[in-house]
């Protein structure tokens, strides 16, 4: 019997598999396909203090082994979430974390305070890495000074699990990882999407209304894996790995590189029950390799 549970500081996941914000709606979209109690947690759609219409269509461009998106944090705002969505999803038998984004430090702080009041939400994922919004978003995630301020102020008011989602669009991700750790983040999730671009050669026009967008899918996996490895070596807090994870082997690779848990993102669109398949696959892998606990995988990469 393998113990699949993992611990992100005080937050316990029944297994290391979570689903990534922006790819899993509010979980309800997946109820026809899978049993949410079979995975460690879900991170619901990016939520902001006020309602956002998001960017204009077109917001998506397919790429080789992946896609670009420019959704731009479309959501109905935190009050709508509290009144209308939370009551529908609070009884899911898994950890439901809310991804929180904002344009100013005050936006983040206010949203975090409101979500803290929700008993069944054990943590938030602070999104300082969305590449698709004009004000704020990634601006907080690419400057150590700005990141320091937002994490510090949210930490001062938010007492539950504080996960910080890091941007890969930086020169040295470990600098930002260490900043977040120093300011009291409980865990780090990475990577958010890579800033990219796609052009329609015939029309000589960009494929996205915003010209640039966030790249995700299997094409980003090697970059993500490298960043998880670097971050794991640089900090002591748990790392949650993501970036193109589509199957069990991908998930295992991220754990070997140092991830305590993983998030499945874009692959949910193609195979809506893949997170359950991966959770089962990790158990099978542990059995085959004689591991008593999935936690033994974290950072177990052999490099001698």
């Amino acid at each position: 019997m393998v113990d699949l549970s993992v611990q992100l500081k005080a937050l316990r996941l029944k297994n290391p598999v979570m689903t990534a914000s922006g790819t899993f709606g509010y979980g309800e979209e997946y109820l026809d396909f899978m049993d949410l109690s079979r995975i460690g947690g879900i991170i619901v759609k990016g939520t902001t203090i006020r309602s956002r219409e998001g960017n204009d269509y077109p917001r998506m461009a397919e790429t080789a082994s992946g896609m670009l998106n420019a959704v731009g944090l479309q959501n109905k705002g935190v009050d709508y979430f509290v009144k209308n969505i939370y009551p529908r999803i609070c009884d899911f038998d898994t950890n439901v974390l809310v991804n929180v984004s904002g344009s100013t430090v005050e936006d983040y702080v206010q949203a975090a305070e409101i979500i803290q009041e929700l008993d069944k939400i054990p943590g938030i994922e602070l999104n300082v890495s969305c590449p698709n919004v004009k004000a704020g978003g990634m601006a907080f995630g690419v400057s150590a000074k700005a990141l320091c301020q937002v994490v510090k102020e949210v930490r001062a008011v938010y007492k539950k699990h504080l996960m910080l989602k890091l941007s890969p669009n930086v020169t040295d991700i470990t600098e930002l990882a260490k900043t977040a750790e120093d300011q009291g983040a409980d865990s780090l999730s990475l990577i958010n999407t890579l800033l990219g671009m796609s052009i329609d050669a015939e029309k000589q026009r960009p494929k996205l209304s915003t010209i640039t967008g966030g790249l995700s899918g299997p094409c980003v996996k090697p970059v993500a894996l490298r960043m998880v490895w670097q971050t794991y070596k640089a900090v002591k807090i748990p790392v949650v790995g993501m970036g193109g994870i589509s199957n069990t082997a991908d998930a295992i690779e991220f754990m070997l590189a140092g991830a305590s848990a993983i998030q499945v993102g874009t692959a949910n669109f193609i195979d809506p029950a893949v997170s359950v398949t991966i959770a089962e696959g990790i158990e099978d892998y542990c059995q085959r390799h004689g591991l008593k606990s999935a936690q033994e995988l974290t950072g177990a990469l052999k490099i001698d």
Binding site: E29, E53, Y57, G66, Q74, I270
Partner: protein, 263 residues
Amino acid sequence: MSSIANKQVLDFILYEKEEWPNSALMKFKTTESLPEILPGQFVQVKVEDSPQTYLRRPLSVNYIDRENSCLWLLVQKVGPGTRKLAALALNSKVNMILPLGNFFSLPEPKKESGLQNIVLIGGGIGTAPLLLLGKSLHELGYLPHFLLGGRSAADILQVEQFRVYGKVFITTQDGTLGEQGLVTEHSILKEMQPDRIYCCGPKPMMQAVASLAKKRNCWCEVSLENLMACGFGACLCCVEKTDKGHVCTCTEGPVFNINQLLW
């Protein structure tokens, strides 16, 4: 009113195929029982062994034979993914998510509604969902008018199948079949006042039809084909601006009454 069945991921086998230069009619069977699929709904088809095709391909359901668990898709060869699909050999296994999206609003049976002229306008591959819709209308006692448009004769597909359920009218831009011109210019639209229009095709064509319907104060539904990633409301990529703001074409649509749209 029928309700929407739970979404499923099902494997199908390709058992019959009819191919043209730019498109293919592909007939699939499943050993599972087929969920209820309503006219206008679509499926998300997984494309194997095509590295450039990461996402599933959203395709309208063309026809259903529920007793035999058969489903037809009409595939236009647009890019690597649809080319790969159209080239599949018989007996290939194909994975689909279905049923997705909303559906065309069906009227009451003809003897109760009193509606006379129901016109189904399709452009190019947009004719695909109109066959299943035509069948449903025929079962309700109607003899719909199918107005099919394309660039040339090669774009006009399934004429014989459409004739089973109603009258067929054709326009082609080069005049190789039917009347020359655009669907909105066809003489049938001048000769009668439609009670209802259902439309699917390229966006400029649907906008022209919508504008004609508005001018003539005619009820009209269109089916959009915005680019999408998931097909079930998670990615928020396929949005259309409506009177309620941005909504997902895959869950609130693909079928919209033209009054909902900001066209």
